[in-house]
């Protein structure tokens, strides 16, 4: 029914679309493999015996008999659970402290523009503050007051290192709460404190949850401070895993087993926090 010319034209166009679609999926899948491959590889290696790990052939890298020997060695020979527990305590402890400091400050900046933006600017600037600059004086002070290699010492450092980020992120969430709501509550006779507790706080609860998860993850991943300030008592899981590397025989299997467990919470968080990751990583500037 249709003229031949048009049909041919459509065929050509369809071919173009098909080609584009194939190209689209090829690129997409390559990117996904590139991103997820190394992460999957951690989990593969964790279940490999060391003879498979050090085998020079590709087939034995991919096809092998799974074994739990790496996990066994990790749990028996190394203080893995202790350092995992340390990391957990420090992450949670520092996050509680961060919220105590950052929550009221962020509210104050968002509602009254306290300090005309200067304090807020300095807060964000402190994120650029080199960790090593803070590390030198604190190392000396901590040594004097016996805070080296203690949980409290590292919790304090983590609080310092997360507080600017948390303040900034919470600032954005508080700004989303309309002032009119607070004014209405004020007319109803609520005091300042009750407005904050009963009106504002419930509305920024998702923001507080997001901020907390980010703070926990940053502390969970932190390496510089825990490496410099811990020896035996307060070693974190990143420090433990890094120690598998430097020793004379490189313990790839144990390292992979440790990594497999310790990155699991961050992977789960990345999946369930999708909507908030962009917002969190841009300090609230981009609401993804």
């Amino acid at each position: 029914m249709q003229p031949v010319k048009t049909r041919e034209g459509e065929n050509l166009k369809n071919q173009g679309i098909t080609f584009k679609r194939v190209l689209f999926w090829v690129i997409t899948i390559l990117v996904l493999v590139g991103i997820l491959g190394p992460l999957l590889w951690i989990y593969l290696t964790a279940f490999k015996s060391s003879s498979d790990i050090f085998a020079g052939t590709l087939s034995r890298q991919l096809i092998f008999t799974p074994t739990l020997e790496n996990f066994k060695r990790l749990f028996v020979q190394f203080p893995f659970f202790k350092s995992l527990g340390n990391t957990l305590i420090m992450s949670l402890g520092s996050t509680v402290l961060v919220l105590i400091v950052a929550l009221p400050a962020a509210y104050s900046f968002a509602r009254w523009n306290t300090g005309g933006g200067h304090i807020l600017f300095n807060t964000i600037a402190s994120r650029m503050f080199p960790g090593v600059v803070a590390a030198i004086p604190f190392f000396i002070v901590f040594r004097q007051i016996n805070l080296l290699d203690t949980h409290i010492g590292i919790i304090l450092l983590y609080m310092y290192f997360n507080v600017s980020f948390a303040t900034f992120l919470l600032y954005g969430f508080f700004r989303d709460v309309p002032v009119e709501l607070e004014q209405a509550a004020m007319i109803d006779g609520y005091g300042r404190f009750n407005i904050f507790r009963k009106v504002v706080l419930p509305l920024v609860l998702p923001g507080i949850a997001t901020t907390s998860v980010f703070c926990i993850i940053w502390s969970w991943n932190e390496f510089l401070f825990s490496f410099l300030f811990s020896r035996k008592v307060a070693t974190t899981v990143t420090v433990l895993i890094s120690s598998f590397w430097g020793s004379i025989d490189v313990q790839y299997g144990t390292m992979a087993a440790g990594a497999a467990i310790s990155i699991l919470p961050t992977l789960i968080a990345a999946w369930f926090m999708q909507r908030y990751i962009v917002r969190g990583l841009t300090f609230g500037a981009v609401k993804g």
């Binding site: 290696t45 020079g56 890298q61 507080v163 404190f193 990143t238 590397w245 990751i277 981009v286 993804g288």
Partner: protein, 311 residues
């Protein structure tokens, strides 16, 4: 009104007579906001200003391992200016920062454009690409160090299997770029996600109007898309500079500052905590901070300018 002992005063009366309590003063409109910000200000003073002053002070001393300090004035700064071990890591840090940001932006922009459409599984894919972002950089760098091992590393085995030559990833001439690549690998999903979010939020009618006017793809991209994305590009650049200038963990997981990969913070770390030269270490730390602050000030100003121009 006389306040007789034991007499009954109603609440309202007492409010009229007595001075406001401390709690009332502090929660009054004038002080309440400062009360709220006070803990943060204290934390900033203790954890930011104190180390700054400490390092500045120590930078004028030669501190021996036993802790004895000898005042030497500007000698540390003079040493630093002639110290090739300061300038080379500094240059490398800039190199790494520029390479990583440019690559992340290009890949991110490309993927953002590619995925800025409706397709099957788009939400899953957008979620999956975020997976490496929150994983500890230290652990990822150790993993990559293993993957890129010359003999048993998976990447080289793959290359050998498809008939290519194995690459010496940790060669002194290329190790720095390998570290860049690892960092780019972890962070391009960030710029891709931000730019994709930006592309999705662009007004559709402008693009339709451009299409009606017969504008070609590249022209539209250069004259419409790119300018509208520029605030986001600046935010990404700013944030990534902040992170990259402090790059430390990937070095520890891979080369530990060997094979021409020593960066700014690693050099400060090595001087202060390996050689325990607190005086000179403080000098380098102050310099590192100073340079960061200059870059930060320029970039923050630029960011505010762009945001004002677009809003």
């Amino acid at each position: 009104m006389v306040n007789k002992k034991g007499s009954d005063i109603t609440l309202n009366d007492s409010y009229l007579i007595r001075k406001p309590s401390i709690w009332e003063i502090l929660s009054s409109e004038k002080y309440f906001k400062w009360m709220l910000a006070l803990p943060l200000i204290v934390v900033l003073l203790v954890f930011m200003i104190y180390p700054l002053i400490f390092c500045l002070y120590k930078s004028f001393f030669q501190v021996s391992l036993s802790g004895n300090a000898l005042f030497i004035g500007l000698q540390n700064y003079k040493t630093m200016l002639r110290d090739i071990n300061f300038w080379i890591p500094l240059g490398r840090t800039f190199q790494v920062t520029v390479i990583c940001i440019v690559a992340e932006l290009l890949i991110g922009l490309g993927l953002g454009m590619l995925w800025n459409r409706d397709f099957k599984g788009q939400n899953i894919i957008r979620g999956l690409i975020l997976m490496p972002l929150l994983v500890a950089p230290l652990i990822l760098s150790i993993v990559w160090n293993f993957l890129l091992e010359y003999n048993i590393g998976f990447v080289n085995q793959m290359l050998a299997a498809i008939g290519l030559t194995r690459v010496k990833w940790w060669d002194p001439s290329g190790a720095l770029y390998t570290i860049c690549a690892i960092t780019i690998w972890q962070w391009f999903p960030f710029s891709a996600s931000v730019l994709l979010a930006g592309l999705k939020s662009l007004p559709k009618d402008v693009f339709e109007a451009a299409k009606v006017d017969g504008a070609k793809g590249w022209f539209v991209f250069r004259k419409l898309t790119l300018p509208m994305l520029s605030p986001l590009i600046i935010i990404i650049t700013l944030l990534r500079t902040m992170w990259l200038i402090r790059l430390f963990d990937p070095l520890y997981g891979t080369t530990r500052g060997a094979v021409n990969t020593e960066l700014l913070d690693w050099m400060v770390y090595r001087t202060s905590f390996v050689y325990f030269d607190i005086g000179y270490g403080s000098t380098l730390a102050i310099m590192s901070l100073f340079l960061t602050m200059i870059i930060g000030a320029i970039m923050f100003r630029q960011l505010i300018k762009t945001l004002n121009a677009t809003s």
